[in-house]
Symmetry: C2
Subunit: 176 residues, 2 copies
């Protein structure tokens, strides 16, 4: 399953594309979309939209994973983060891609086994999982990769459960 991970932000929006199946994952692409903080808010959103469209067109992910933003994390930056998140949701939906939302805690737990792991630990685990020579940089892109890995693994598990449930349902229906 190919997943585009998006760590939403307006000044810096981290992107990571991963091909993954439970327990394994390979990196496809890594990047950061930057917009200048003194630009018009609208121009920043339009640019972010065009870049996200470009990434989806170029790397053809099957799913998009977006970090779930909480309102109480950082009042100063939360609004621009929410704006960037909305653009990512819009672009993914218009491309017909299913979206998964994951909290930072879920992502950390998925890649390190602990929801309280630090940045460095997440980076080191992402490096090991993806078989990279160095920890992925910059940090926003590393977070986006971790998000994509988390979604590929959890998504696949969820799909398998869904498949099992449907199979069981069909079997029960056949027995009736």
């Amino acid at each position: 399953m190919r997943v585009l991970g998006v760590d939403p932000g307006l000044t810096r929006c981290g992107l990571g594309v991963v091909d993954g199946r439970p327990g394994r994952a390979g990196m496809v692409a890594l990047g950061v979309i930057r917009t200048p903080s003194d630009a018009e808010p609208g121009e920043r959103l339009v640019y972010l939209e065009s870049q996200l469209e470009h990434w989806i067109e170029r790397f053809r992910p099957e799913r998009v994973a977006i970090e779930r933003v909480f309102a109480d994390v950082n009042v100063a930056s939360v609004m621009t983060t929410a704006h960037a998140s909305a653009i990512a949701i819009l672009v993914a939906t218009k491309a017909g891609l299913p979206i998964g939302f994951h909290t930072p805690t879920e992502v950390k737990a998925a890649v390190t086994g602990s929801g309280r792991a630090g940045k460095a630990q997440v980076g080191a685990m992402v490096q090991r999982i993806l078989g990279l020579d160095d920890p992925p940089r910059p940090a926003d892109a590393a977070d986006a990769l971790a998000l994509a890995v988390c979604h590929a693994w959890r998504g696949a598990a969820a799909d398998r459960l869904q498949g099992l449930a449907e199979q069981t349902g069909r079997r029960l229906a056949a027995q009736r």
Copy 2:
């Protein structure tokens, strides 16, 4: 000056179009875009985008006024409000329209003279300013109308100041 006011929201997004010049204003249109809260977040944003595009195409405003959302007002709804706001900013920018942001306090002060005016007082003043038979309903649409009136008046005043400053600048330059 024709202004589209947007009171951003995902469950209910208030819209009001006003033709205004300082001290005077006439209503052109009034409405609310609703999306079901149990729909996919992406589908809600795509629908909101299409409706906003439709309003701009139909009523051809020269400017868009959007309520400035604060992160600390209501943690539960602030994220969806911020998402709706991002879509409004995106659509207006792509339509080439200048955007003005106004806080609720600014809007109340512009239409009632007091930044602490209540809903009913704002509604009554909007009714009087626009010469309506009844207070505008629903409340979201009334807020959007007040926002558009505020922007038409303040925007015109700002333009006039800008014009005066440029005139003065040219006069000073000519005297040198």
